[in-house]
């Protein structure tokens, strides 16, 4: 098949370069991997330090790490909503529970960042099994609402009855511990490495980000990627070809919980803290906004959505006067983007690049969109 030969020629050595080969290349695993590495290498610098952008951005290295972690969260959430079509309004349960488990393990058992993150992930998986057994009996809006109810239940549980364990609204503080007992996470580099990566903590988080992107790319290219989409498109048909839809949904749910749990564990390590607010319903809501805004079901979408969300929250928020309206501004942009581009910002960008190659396509796309909006009354 010609597609394979093109892929192979990229994996080997490519001499032809056209839009068509580019379309093939950008979907190869190697390209996605290299892009995510490059992104991590340049992200903190361009976002937090580069003098070329603006001094408003100066000193946002910490925010860069927060964004990487929330991107992992959004990628895990998207696996469920974007790929499989299950909308959970309670994903804070995995983020918050993993954070607590990580902190408790670090405080009471053993404080080693890798192990701590692993324990957080496992806690989320365990919770995922229980939640899935309840939630996968429910459909559509009941699934979403009961997910929210479970997360809120855990929030109140952590806040009051378990106050001895969780320290309630004060939360748990974790001392900083070296990686594998050797590597200080806060060690700062000098020179080029220092400029780009700053410290070991950023490298630690960045490595997990790259690993999660690689894992999700692989899942998308596996039979699961296809079967998840089939379930999203037409559950009845998928069952009638002989697939156990329940088990595949269960798998999607657990994989999603694991990735979100990883983000929760990383958050505990990053902030040296675990608190009840990570279980709060607004966390579940924020992740829906980020994922949908960036582009459901895509790989880059959730990352872009997370970035834009934090740009508003962390940076527009700091602008004089305008800053007070950051949430309103975000809501307006959200509505505008999703109304015109159901595939989010990433859908908008791919549309534009397609248009750059072929202006005629831009015109026909625009026409199509307008006629869609008119015919559906814009309620897509």
């Amino acid at each position: 098949m010609s597609m394979d030969t093109i892929r192979n020629s990229f994996d080997g050595d490519s001499s032809v370069l056209s839009w068509e080969t580019w379309n093939q290349i950008k979907h190869t695993e190697r390209f996605v991997f290299l892009s995510s590495v490059l992104f991590v290498l340049l992200f903190s610098y361009t976002f937090g330090r580069a003098p070329v952008i603006s001094d408003v951005f100066q000193g946002y290295h910490g925010l860069a790490m927060t964004i990487l972690i929330w991107s992992i969260f959004a990628l895990g959430f998207n696996l469920l909503l974007g790929q499989t079509g299950l909308l959970s309004f309670g994903h804070a349960m995995f983020f918050g529970t993993a954070s607590y488990a990580a902190a408790l393990f670090a405080i009471h058992v053993y404080n080693e960042p890798l192990l701590v993150v692993l324990v957080g992930t496992l806690a989320a998986v365990t919770l995922g099994v229980v939640a899935a057994l309840i939630l996968l009996r429910l459909h559509t809006v009941y699934f979403s609402i009961v997910a929210l109810a479970i997360a809120q239940f855990l929030y109140f549980l952590a806040r009051e009855p378990l106050v001895e364990v969780t320290k309630g609204i004060n939360g748990l503080d974790i001392p900083r511990a070296p990686l594998l007992g050797l590597v200080e996470l806060e060690h700062e580099y000098s020179g080029l490495v220092g400029t780009l990566l700053v410290n070991n903590l950023y490298i630690f988080i960045g490595a997990f980000f790259v690993a999660v992107v690689a894992l999700i790319t692989r899942i998308r290219k596996s039979p699961y990627g296809l079967i998840f989409k089939a379930i999203r498109e037409n559950e009845t048909r998928t069952a009638f070809v002989g697939l156990d839809v329940w088990r595949y949904k269960f798998a999607a749910f657990i994989l999603s919980a694991a990735i979100v749990g990883l983000a929760g564990g990383l958050m505990a390590v990053n902030t040296q803290f675990a608190g009840v607010e990570r279980l709060y319903w607004s966390v579940s809501g924020d992740i829906v906004v980020m994922t949908v805004l960036g582009g459901l079901g895509t790989l880059a979408g959730p990352v872009i959505g997370t970035f834009v969300f934090f740009y508003f929250k962390g940076i527009v928020n700091g602008f004089p006067t305008l800053g007070n309206y950051w949430l309103l501004l975000l809501a307006l942009s959200f509505t505008a983007v999703v109304w015109a581009y159901p595939d989010g910002i990433w859908g908008m960008l791919t549309d534009f690049t397609a248009a750059l190659r072929d202006p005629k396509e831009l015109l026909s796309n625009a026409r199509q969109r307008i006629s869609d909006l008119v015919s559906t009354g814009g309620d897509r």
Binding site: G225, A230, T236, F240, G242, A251
Partner: protein, 253 residues
């Protein structure tokens, strides 16, 4: 023993009896057709056998297994495939992917842990998908989104998905509805191939009487949920109750 057998199969929707004590038997390798006017209960019979609906009363056995209470995916895994009356495809997936989903189910069973392996490395699945694409003559449109196919092609894709599950017994609910004459002819040829080359058993619901009388080994006639006649095409053509209920009075048809 018959491959498929129903005994006293009854399905009620509230006060409406859509199936009323239906007894049928389908032998391995034959093509049986089910005819009957709109609302006779033809689709309901298929739905009840394949697990989409559970019967109010009665038994269904397939190759000695009791199907009542089994889930649709389990029945499909036993080798019972179906194509739906209204095209039930996966709209945002490509034509190839639509077929591939069914091929994975046929090759790997109802569930398998393989999310770390790329799907293009499963050669048997790729081969089967390509074979179906060729058989149903959709290979030139393999990379189109299913939703952008013209209506007749969607109908063909519907049949292709059913085929890709690699069934021993295939239910086809009005496969030619909405097809052009050429596509209809192709589908009739395909049905012939499925019987002779693929060794399938086919249960066909079809409104086009020329096709039914042409391809069927035996014909069942359903009327208001009751089986009013069964027999060879010749017998059904002459059957007074059938002429009365379905072929439109004494003469005609």
């Amino acid at each position: 023993m018959a491959l498929l057998e129903t005994r006293g199969l009854t399905k009620e929707f509230g006060g409406l009896t859509a199936l009323d004590g239906v007894d049928i038997a389908v032998e391995e390798g034959e093509l049986v057709s089910l005819i009957g006017p709109n609302g006779a209960g033809k689709s309901t019979l298929i739905n009840t056998i394949t697990g989409q609906l559970s019967p109010t009363a009665g038994d269904v056995t397939y190759a000695g297994t009791d199907l009542v209470g089994m889930k649709p995916f389990e029945i499909a895994q036993l080798g019972v495939g179906r194509s739906f009356q209204t095209a039930s495809i996966l709209p945002e997936l490509t034509v190839r992917e639509n077929i591939q989903v069914a091929s994975f189910a046929a090759e790997h069973g109802s569930f398998r842990v393989n999310f770390l392996r790329r799907r293009d490395s499963f050669d048997a699945v790729q081969e089967q998908t390509n074979e179906i694409l060729e058989t149903i003559d959709l290979d030139s449109k393999a990379d189109m989104d299913a939703q952008s196919l013209p209506y007749g092609d969607k109908r063909r894709l519907e049949v292709a998905i059913g085929l890709a599950t690699d069934p021993d017994l295939l239910f086809m609910d009005e496969p030619t509805a909405g097809m052009s004459p050429t596509e209809t002819e192709m589908t009739v040829d395909l049905i012939g191939d499925l019987l002779t080359d693929w060794g399938m058993t086919i249960f066909l619901v079809e409104h086009d009487m020329d096709i039914v009388f042409d391809v069927s080994d035996r014909i069942f006639t359903l009327h208001q949920g009751q089986l009013i006649a069964r027999g060879t095409p010749e017998e059904i053509r002459e059957h007074p109750a059938v002429r009365e209920a379905y072929l439109g009075g004494g003469d005609g048809a």
